[in-house]
Point group: C2
């Protein structure tokens, strides 16, 4: 299992692998791959051998908007599929400022210290605009980046949420086939992305801090309801009492939500990612959750539901792509938009006209 | 303008018009209409003459899922379109328990007392399940129901949010052509429907109460950000001080949100729909808003954007309907879902197979 850790993979995107980490084999691999594109089966073999370079290349194909890459990407995913699914998928959300990167750094490092292999992915379509994604700035997870049992991949950029989410979903499969048994999926938690993340994870963790004014922490009823655990970060120094108070409040609030179909009662705990306290308790909670849902079959049925959801989502996304990239529609749609804008035709009538052209 | 108010229209759905409100003309109209379906142009004429029966019938066509009704509905909408748009559209949201029906009753009655004509619509796809929609239970707006210058129409039922929203959007056009100058669109404010409502109104009002625990009032950052005004209801009796406190808190919270592109600074006020205090202030706020956005052209540009949005939404909805109702897809999709469920094929590959069949 990953006998030849290939640290250079982490720098594949930068193009400058640190030479001191090179093994002869990995060097040969990179030199070869720059000359020619590896085939789908070569990439599958690489992934199943836990080669991070192959993994990164395959993810790049999955993320590609080049249609020529689509069938190759699909071939790789289907080749990996039988080896996927042997993992736990954890969604972590929290608005900017709650210390998400520090938490993931501490949590991920704790997990690798237990012998786990951790992949960290992101669903954050806005990161290209705001540059606010924690994963856009890898240096903020210094320790984890250097950890050979961790793999960090920023969000696919320049995409709609639907696109990013679908690609992240496919990336999970590749990471699992590459031997990662713990997949962490991060989202900034202020948009619609939590729903997308919730639909691809087994466990959903909401990260909070105390005393920042709950309004401004952007508490959405929907997100509170999704959470399997609320973890109040920055419970250190002067903050410990406030964090305890927040814990009580969240506990009270959570108990008023309807019971979860998983049978799980959401937990609230405090931690300090900075001081690395309370991190082990988070993992303990997740382990207890997994024991429950594997016993009561919720785990399996939820994953099946999620698979169906992603099939439907992929179809819907593709239907739209086809329509809006249709030559006749491209040439007509701006005109229609203008007519609709100026109330010359109702939005519905304009839609019907375009649809008729498309389906004729 | 509406010289022959036809109160029986309100009961059209129940089938039992209260006989005491019948004029000879309206009675004749109903008897005729039961014998034969009025034509599109008859309905258009009726609507433009501010006939509520014609309006109700046209809305029923718009809401119909019978494809035969689609072209007739479109004809009516396009016939009404040149006479629409002369109104102000107000979205009102708030979770159950904030007194939304009482507020709309008081607010709507205040508006008709100013000589306005008020239509109250709802976007609430869940109402068929929860029966929680205020408009499902008309008796809760006793005064407004009897008001000849008001028209109340519950949400189209048995539909997806997309469907309900589209139909509500079309219903707005019909109501405006029928002479209603103030359109109130209500949503229960716990789901995704606020976004849909926000995309069809000029002014978005968030109704709250104080002291019920903000967590449980389901404050979503998104909704707070959408609001042009927050009105704290039930500011009466022992509640007055708490409401004032809540007002301060919301004011503080609102000022930390980014500035609105309308140039409007959201307001916070208190009212008691029960005691009918603070209702006039709400209207004053909306009037000030309208003055601003009509001067700075935001009003016009927002409506144009909304029209475009609805064209795109209609297209996307229709693309999905076409796919999922395609005979070959219907016969294959269950099988695909099962294969995906059992990890025999990836959700993406299954989607590609179905799409290939559909597009071949």
């Amino acid at each position: 299992m990953n006998e030849k850790p290939n640290k250079s993979a982490l720098n594949e995107k930068d193009g400058i692998p640190p030479p001191e980490t090179f093994s002869a084999a990995s060097l040969k691999k990179i030199v070869t791959s720059r000359k020619q594109q590896p085939s789908a089966s070569e990439l599958i073999t690489g992934i199943l051998n836990h080669d991070k370079v192959a993994l990164s290349r395959a993810i790049t194909l999955v993320e590609s908007t080049n249609v020529a890459h689509l069938s190759k990407a699909n071939e790789i995913i289907n080749g990996c599929l039988p080896y996927a699914n042997q993992s736990i998928r954890i969604g972590i959300t929290g608005v900017p400022g709650v210390g998400k990167s520090t938490f993931i750094e501490a949590f991920g490092s704790y997990l690798t210290s237990l012998g786990k292999k951790v992949a960290v992915l992101a669903v954050d379509p806005s990161s290209t605009i705001s540059h606010g994604s924690i994963l856009g700035d890898k240096t903020r997870m210094e320790e984890l980046v250097k950890d050979e049992n961790a793999y960090i991949r920023p969000s696919a950029s320049g995409e709609t949420l639907g696109g990013v989410a679908r690609k992240t979903r496919e990336t999970i499969i590749l990471c699992e086939a590459a031997g990662f048994d713990t997949i962490i999926i991060e989202t900034v938690g202020v948009g619609q992305s939590e729903t997308a993340v919730h639909s691809m994870v087994d466990f959903f963790l909401l990260l909070k801090i105390s005393g920042a004014g709950d309004e401004l922490q952007g508490i959405k009823r929907g997100i509170m309801e999704m959470a399997d655990a609320i973890v109040i970060n920055k419970a250190d120094g002067d903050n410990i009492n406030k964090a305890k108070l927040a814990k009580t409040e969240f506990n009270r609030a959570l108990h008023l939500f309807p019971a979860k179909s998983s049978g799980w009662i959401p937990t609230v705990s405090t931690c300090s990612a900075y001081e690395k306290t309370g991190i082990d308790a988070v993992w303990e909670t997740i382990s207890r959750y997994m024991e429950l849902v594997k016993t009561n079959d919720y785990f399996e049925s939820k994953r099946q539901e999620q698979n169906q959801y992603w099939m439907i989502e992929t179809i819907n996304e593709q239907l739209k792509n086809n329509f809006y990239n249709h030559p006749e529609i491209i040439s007509l749609i701006e005109e229609s938009k203008k007519a609709v804008q100026n109330d010359e035709v109702s939005p519905f009538a304009a839609a019907q006209i375009l649809l008729k052209k498309y389906f004729k």
